[in-house]
Symmetry: C2
Subunit: 143 residues, 2 copies
């Protein structure tokens, strides 16, 4: 019982912290015309290397038609390329172009800057706590 209550209280506090921090980080928008959804899709593609539209839609938790639109925008900007699937002609392989990788890195840097600046002002002890927390949270997010 004590454990359950504790988990619930922790969930409230943690979610609040995460929601606020996420909004705060998100509003540090770099100049440029990539929307959040586009950047997010580009990020997922980047991390995975290459994905089909269906796979990318699943990763991004949107429906396939939605991903078609987003990928369309990214392709227009030359950040993502569609290539045929080697064995299944229904499918398509999506991957970031070289330009896509460059643009992604720029955005990512801008978005991390504010957070890195804040973190630099914490004590080493606090950073260590966050370090371990980040690993635990990654684990939880994968569940």
């Amino acid at each position: 019982m004590a454990e359950r209550t504790s988990a619930e209280q922790l969930a409230v506090g943690l979610r609040e912290a995460i929601t606020r921090l996420n909004r705060r980080v998100r509003q540090e928008r770099p100049v440029g015309d990539l929307t959040f959804s586009q950047l997010s899709a580009l990020t997922s593609l980047q991390l995975a290397g290459a994905l089909t539209p269906r796979e990318l839609a699943d990763v991004e938790r949107v429906q396939p038609p939605t991903m078609t639109k987003i990928v369309g925008k990214l392709e227009e900007r030359g950040l993502v390329a569609r290539t045929p699937h080697p064995t299944d002609r229904r499918q398509v392989i999506l991957a970031a172009t070289e330009q896509g990788r460059v643009v992604y890195a720029q955005f990512e840097k801008a978005r991390n800057e504010w957070l890195a600046k804040q973190l630099a002002e914490l004590t080493p002890d606090e950073r260590d706590t966050l370090e371990r927390a980040a690993q635990i949270l990654q684990q939880v997010a994968r569940a």
Copy 2:
């Protein structure tokens, strides 16, 4: 060791963890027809007690016309009420109705449930780390 991790590296890892967890939590959508923006605005109103449209727009980091739309939807559903400002007739006071508070609590509960369940499966030690991390992150988000 891990203590040597730079603020930049920590920022990357932490943001990744938070982004993923946020998406994961967000997708645990309760049955119902409140969108994320509507819920977010309702939450801010709830926390602040009462706000003008301009203030709410600032808190939510959107432009006033956008907030007009969102508040309009919430008002249609009877979750938020507009009342005249006591001294300035240009302004409006927004506040959650009783029904708004009830609906908000239901959504909030549903959104925390998944996370609480995950957290309950961690070790007490891990939860302790997250507890301290949450406090630090709240601090950072306020900066």
